[in-house]
Symmetry: C2
Subunit: 674 residues, 2 copies
Amino acid sequence: MWLQYEPITEKKVKDQYQRVLRHVVIKEDDPIILSAKNELEIAVKEMLDYEINWAEDVQDANFVIGNKKELAGFLEEGQRCLLADLADEGFIVQTINQKSYLVGNTDAGVMYGIHHFIRLMQMKADPSQLHIADQPKNQFRMINQWDNLDGSVERGYSGKSIFYQNGKIVKDKARIHDYARYLSSIGINSICINNVNVWEEETYFITKKYLPEIKEIADIFSSYAIRLYLSINFASPITIDGLSTADPLDGEVKQWWKDKVAEIYDYIPDFGGFIVKADSEHRPGPFTYNRDHADGANMLAEVLEPYDGKVIWRCFVYNCLQDWRDRATDRARAAYDHFKPLDGRFHENVLLQIKNGPLDFQVREPVSPLLGAMSQTNQLIEFQVAQEYTGQQIDLCYLIPQWKQVLAFDTHIKGPGSTISEIVAGNIHVYKHSGIAAVSNIGNDENWTGHTLAQANLYGYGRLTWDPSLSSQQIAEEWIIQTFGNQKEVLAKIEKMLLSSWKIYENYTAPLGVGWMVTPGIHYGPNIDGYEYSRWGTYHFADREGIGVDRTIETGTGYTSQYEEPNRFIYNILSECPDELLLFFHHVPYKYTLKNGETVIQHIYNTHFKGYEQVEDLMDIWNSLEHVMDNARFKHVQDRLYRQKMNAKEWRDQINSYFYRKSGIADQYNRTIY
Amino acid sequence: MWLQYEPITEKKVKDQYQRVLRHVVIKEDDPIILSAKNELEIAVKEMLDYEINWAEDVQDANFVIGNKKELAGFLEEGQRCLLADLADEGFIVQTINQKSYLVGNTDAGVMYGIHHFIRLMQMKADPSQLHIADQPKNQFRMINQWDNLDGSVERGYSGKSIFYQNGKIVKDKARIHDYARYLSSIGINSICINNVNVWEEETYFITKKYLPEIKEIADIFSSYAIRLYLSINFASPITIDGLSTADPLDGEVKQWWKDKVAEIYDYIPDFGGFIVKADSEHRPGPFTYNRDHADGANMLAEVLEPYDGKVIWRCFVYNCLQDWRDRATDRARAAYDHFKPLDGRFHENVLLQIKNGPLDFQVREPVSPLLGAMSQTNQLIEFQVAQEYTGQQIDLCYLIPQWKQVLAFDTHIKGPGSTISEIVAGNIHVYKHSGIAAVSNIGNDENWTGHTLAQANLYGYGRLTWDPSLSSQQIAEEWIIQTFGNQKEVLAKIEKMLLSSWKIYENYTAPLGVGWMVTPGIHYGPNIDGYEYSRWGTYHFADREGIGVDRTIETGTGYTSQYEEPNRFIYNILSECPDELLLFFHHVPYKYTLKNGETVIQHIYNTHFKGYEQVEDLMDIWNSLEHVMDNARFKHVQDRLYRQKMNAKEWRDQINSYFYRKSGIADQYNRTIY
């Protein structure tokens, strides 16, 4: 992936770095510093073909690395002030009188500083006059593995799990170690290593049967400043020890969890805590005992508190046995309706994990109105790096622009500027803990992510959690240079492919924010009515006159009322609603005219013909890179693009035929519709 | 099932049978006679609470049982003539001078005679003056198990396999033995014990690894006059012995099969032969080597011939990678187009197995035009007792009326009277071998068939293969009395349920012969567009104006030309086409008026509202039986009916909503459509 460290061939750059790295001193205190040192050694060896000459004494060194405590005596006032302004994980990299300093507030800060420095080297930035002070914007920068003990990965499109195989934790943990390196290099500091849907055997992860091996994994991540979390089964006391109840207010249950948590921390002293998917899609939870989510989360929070452990409680709670005949119930409302009334009831070490949109990682959704709506409850936003609904790493879909748009969304919850980015950074309401989580897209495929270009999503996710102000283009460039080198042609072309890909995917799939229309279960490929008569609360209500879901206050489900003004007004009023979300919020006739001047039906035809052509363009661009690309990666991506084209063709023709057959309105350009 | 033998309580009947069975003599020659004798003993013991007093000497006996050879010296001229007129498996049961004779042309005939006699006893017929001469109408009366070695049953709705479990043949063969009893009692004489889709490990069934155990199973069936067949993988020479080809014209391949067949017959001297699904749905076959089906079948036929073995070659061959955009290709044409040109090329011991309809066991299809269309090629018709598309043994669907309708269909292939029934009996063209096959509906559920009332389909299937002239009602009555006793109320009500059930199922599912509209893969529950944009050749082409598949000669796929006149004319001309098949043959506007006076759209609404109500009626009827029914069976069927109601509701509402949304035409009775 992005740590492949091609040798630097430009003499000038090489000389500059060798000069800076002439005599390096680093304080070898703990596993994190050792890992960081190791990272630097690998990078320097591979890029500069050079063994670092480690100095013993700070005075002799021309590059000083360490945390601020260790280096206290050597720092100037200015440096100390800079560091004091930064969060624990912050760092500075500075050149003062031809001497370089890489100082972290903590060992983790040192680790991030070294990754930053290595990245500069990969990007061939001039290292001679550095003045960097950096820190993460978000406290929680988390990745969630949806891996199962049998080796499968729920919504995994990159082979099997790197953590589990055939019902066992893998013996050879080299791949896990590499994963820790990748994650820390992009700033991730938390990982949950098992699926939020905790099945029978995985329930026992929190027992002696598995804890010794999980401890080994925790140690690996720990040495890269990443804390390990586990998804738990809310009914564990029943499953594991045959208790008659899992009622969170039951004394025996509470004692059970207390003992359990003590046992876990005995193995893993820096254990992060629990992720809980409760009362959602048939998972057990407090509802069974007439308790609410706060009761459930707080019981766990109390027993984790003494250890600084956290409860991450997922808000993906909705009625998955809905009746499609019932147009009053609206799944989009569910998270807000369930959790908003509980604001203020959660303990300080509980974080609610809220999907970015109100439904489920569609190619286009509005931002979840629950985000920011609870001033006294810690929140994490949840993205999905795995491309469940966005092409499954067969189709190219660079998701950074989507996440950027979500993070930039202004909720107006406390007036203008109340963006999601600031909310999850804990700057709008004063959250004790908050940040960003996401579902991982990796597996044991050789290239980690199925589609090689899908590596950019994992890379970009990490970078965004650290610094949401980075642009999609910056992130793309960083990733391309680190992955494919800095040839101008390669950079420009792949960047163009990445940056256009989300919109292209949207063009040939479900139109105007209506979502779904995918093959049920699999979630790849078109099935326009696939979720229309289902129990999942996922409808488009297309008839011969029009399409869309009326979520307005006056005539619809009232979902729009969950937003603050002016968003409420914008979404609620047909004429104000942005085209891209029109069918999410309104039911309109096929001949309704969009802001762009097209009718809805003509827009559907236009975007679907165009989306397919754009995939052909992607293929052309990629094919033009054959002469500058290694054959393996060239063929691999070429093959994925061909499969994407076949998929785009199916989408184009099924969507167009479906709506032509239903509306009876011909394409104004007379293109082929079946 | 139907061999549960309730004690006869009516004194008169009991006395009559005890009198007839006072001194019975039977020739114990071979395993079949032993089984037959055993059957009689069990039945008499349980129904009459009486141990048969077996006589040694025919002179002393008042009931003489045996085959005509053994009894030659004791038969009168009239009896001999009667027997001479009957097929090998025929028998007579006669009373002459207060002495009863049960004589079969063969041991198998004796077995069938005894089953017949037992059935009389179950039906409480007067046994004192019997004058029965009976024989099977069809030479082949076959059942196909779609069982896999892992214990699963393809399209099985009654639990797991009774033959296989966890990758092995079951050790305890008691259930297989019982199955043999059931099958022989209804006249079945052939069984294929493995899925026509032969997977990796099942390919080895024809090797030493499995043959010893398969021989055990063959012996069980053999003792009930049932020959055992195996489905084979056409690519066996490659898979099993690493040959480089499976080309049927290759000398080495032929030799391989010759040796293989010798080996099989070494284990199982009365082995029936092979069933082959070749070049169908991704199964290997002769097409790979540019050979045709005749080449493939004949190669196997030649090596089986010396052992009197047969090749049963399935005609379920079509393009399963069709493009839904292509309206010229018509899957319904496929079997005829593939096989008709090969007439006269097949060996005498090859039988073509042809599904009853041109598509795939839909609730309503026309009869396959290939049936009877080959005057020089042996044919078997294939039914499906398993309710794949007809409710999966959750919904009640008594299929005998459907099969009766198929068998009664007059192809006119050699003028009026060329019915399917006569064709597969070998009476229209002179077939050396022919008959009826069907996919079984049994599994290891306690009641064998998932839905207890679905036992009637297996029972009726067997009875029909023996005597297609039996009416649906007669068969239902026989089965009900044997299964639930002869209480008038029970008989009348269950009979009403059974006889109305096919039409009810049709009412709430896909309308007017158009078929499909089921959940892809699973084939249960509605999904109106589920197969519409698929590769399976299964479309309804509904748009906002109308629906149906144009299969006419002039404007459609020309499928109708595969029928003889007058069927060709009837199906081809819109005004002649029977309502029930209208959408199979024609694309019509929603406002097209049916022969029954309703428009198509109103018919759809009417039948779907009615179908659901009829299921409620079925529930009422069943509920009224609570006081006369054992609790276990009452609750069981009640539960199935409830599930059927839920299914009917889904079908009703989805079909109605789909067509209302598409047509925009309101129900004239203003019933609720969503």
